[in-house]
């Protein structure tokens, strides 16, 4: 039985639909169920619904064989897993943003508010810029408005939230989307189950196969 870790919430629903369309349906997932482990004997899969930021941890430790996770979470966690596919959806960018018209003062360390301290550190280390990280857990956009930080490092989808808060993107660090990851040992011992999944996900959905 292949264990698949999915992020709870909107992304997870989308990912489940993709998997179901490609031959991995699970009847229990279609119902409004509160269980966190949902099995389907016929498809040979077991879905685990976990917090998005925990998906890579489940996979790295082998509690799940494969999982779907945003590239942002994967980079921040630095988990030792295989990244097998870019599923394309959930596309957005990891960006640096600041108040509209912000001018950077290069004579002082830059104060960076972010949910992603590792990504921010790496990015500024590559640019040899000294920074001070202010780790926040949400409403990052507030930080530059209140003068808590000079800039923020965060994911930007449409830019609407930034605009409403009079912020703008100053640099794009990298594009983000949902990735299929796999545990390293599972790639050896569960290859017979993972390989068909990979093949299915990289080909067109087969209507009727999952009925």
């Amino acid at each position: 039985m292949l264990s698949i870790a999915l992020p709870k919430g909107r992304l997870g629903d989308k990912v489940y639909k993709l998997f179901a369309d490609h031959g991995y349906p699970c009847a229990a997932m279609e119902q409004d169920d509160r269980r966190l482990v949902l099995r389907d004997e016929a498809s040979g899969v077991q879905y685990l619904l976990v917090k998005p930021s925990d998906v890579a941890i489940y996979v790295e430790h082998g509690a799940a064989d494969v999982g779907v996770v945003g590239k942002d979470v994967l980079l921040e966690g630095g988990n030792d897993v295989y990244e097998l596919l870019d599923l394309g959806f959930g596309a957005c960018n990891m960006c640096v943003a600041a108040r509209v018209g912000f001018r950077e003062n290069f004579s002082a360390p830059l104060r960076v508010a972010t949910k992603y301290p590792n990504i921010a550190k790496q990015y500024y280390a590559n640019n040899s810029r000294e920074i001070e990280i202010i780790k926040l857990n949400g409403s990052i956009e507030l930080a530059p408005i209140l003068g808590l930080s000079d800039v923020i490092v965060d994911i930007v989808e449409t830019g609407a939230t930034l605009k409403q808060n009079h912020l703008e993107v100053t640099h794009t660090i990298l594009p983000i989307s949902a990735r299929l990851i796999a545990n390293k040992a599972s790639m050896r011992f569960q290859a017979a189950a993972i390989q068909p999944l990979l093949t299915a996900l990289t080909t067109q959905p087969m209507e009727g196969k999952n009925s």
Partner: protein, 370 residues
């Protein structure tokens, strides 16, 4: 060989020790610490780059050793054209993968240093296979060769910086981002297609070897494949090829490793449990004459496999009364223990103590109570 009952880590290490000794490997014991500079200069050889340092009474900065191979390579003095075979069972000190805290980790491994020939390589790889077999009955040994990927990257004219940019994606089997990075590094078109395939170049030996031969662009790469083919055929003849996989996405640090490299996985452990390879370049760094090949078994990765909790605290709970004769009691308890039972003798058992059998002392012998 019967797979080991993994309830006991000592049993495993004892078994491996006699395996290594039976092939003439001698125990290499070392100090707990080395000069910090050794690890500073060889940071990229280490599994994790945090080292537990302290200063000795002379003010010299020392470190609790985070790795054993560096110490062996540094201290070994293989004679010219001769071979030294050692094994070790040592504690190393590293950051725990999950918490920012240092932990003591037991590591076991073997190294052959000096004049390495084809036989020695096969012996070490067979020992790696036997080691995995001692750990669990379902195991895989991934084999690769440092010369294949580096041969391709060099033929494409990529400098060290460009190669470093591509390697992480090959290691992650991340074909989609590898393709983007190849484009970003302006890799010549005739090589781009080939390099892009490195991320997925893994699987059963003969099939992967066949796919790899389509990527060859230099005599050096051809030679690498010939070496791997010969190794596979040899292990196949010995009946040991069943657990082998070829994995060109596995790339160790190029400044230390050359030639054959390998990694072992055991079903039930989520990460690599055994890792090794040919490290002539490390020997050169220390100004040593000989070549070297070896591997380490990460006992810490096996902890949760090995520590299968027992349902019982003992086989027999042997109860007596405070007034019983101690000499008679003592004789009876040791008699029970001599039958191979784990006996817990007490007049006052701990709460929640679990044993399948409870016995009471009748003045001469223990009788089962129900």
């Amino acid at each position: 060989m019967e797979p080991l009952n993994l309830t006991n880590k000592d049993q495993l290490t004892g078994k491996l020790r006699s395996l290594y000794e039976s092939l003439g490997y001698t125990r290499f014991s070392m100090r707990r610490f080395e000069e910090y500079a050794l690890y500073l200069e060889n940071k990229s050889f280490l599994k994790s780059d945090s080292v537990l340092a302290f200063s000795n009474p002379d003010g010299m900065l020392m470190a609790l050793k985070p790795d054993v191979t560096l110490s062996i390579a540094k201290h070994a003095r293989p004679e010219r054209d001769a071979l030294e075979k050692v094994y070790y069972k040592e504690s190393v000190y590293r950051l725990a993968p999950t918490a920012r805290e240092f932990v003591e980790i037991e590591q076991m491994g073997v190294e052959a240093l000096g004049a390495i020939d084809g036989y020695t390589i096969a012996e070490i790889i067979r020992l790696a296979i036997e080691t995995l077999r001692a750990v669990g009955k379902d195991y895989v040994l991934d084999i690769s060769h440092m010369g294949f990927a580096s041969g391709l990257l060099e033929a494409a004219g990529l400098d060290a910086g460009q190669q470093e940019a591509l390697l992480p994606f090959i290691r992650q089997r991340n074909a989609h981002e590898l393709a983007k990075e190849i484009a970003r590094q302006h890799v010549p078109a005739e090589y781009a297609q080939r390099i892009a395939q490195l991320a997925g170049l893994s699987g059963t030996f003969p099939e992967t070897l066949a796919r790899a031969s389509a990527l060859v662009v230099s005599p050096g790469m051809e030679q690498v494949l010939a070496e791997l083919r010969a190794l596979y055929e040899l292990l196949d003849t010995l009946g040991l090829a069943g657990c082998l996989q070829l994995d060109f996405s596995m790339l160790n640090d190029q400044s230390y490793y050359n030639g054959v490299v390998f990694q072992g996985y055991v079903a039930g452990a989520p990460r690599v449990v055994l890792s090794g390879g040919r490290y002539d370049l490390l020997m050169r760094r220390f100004g040593k004459q000989g070549d070297a090949i070896g591997f380490a078994l990460y006992l810490d990765e096996l902890t949760y496999m090995l520590a299968e909790p027992s349902q019982w605290d003992a086989d027999v709970l042997a109860l007596y009364r405070a007034e019983d004769d101690v000499a008679a009691l003592n004789a009876a308890v040791f008699e029970l223990a001599a039958q191979g039972l784990r006996v817990f003798a007490t007049s006052n058992p701990p709460r929640d103590f679990r044993a399948p059998t409870t016995m009471a002392f009748d003045g001469r012998t223990f009788r089962e109570v129900t």
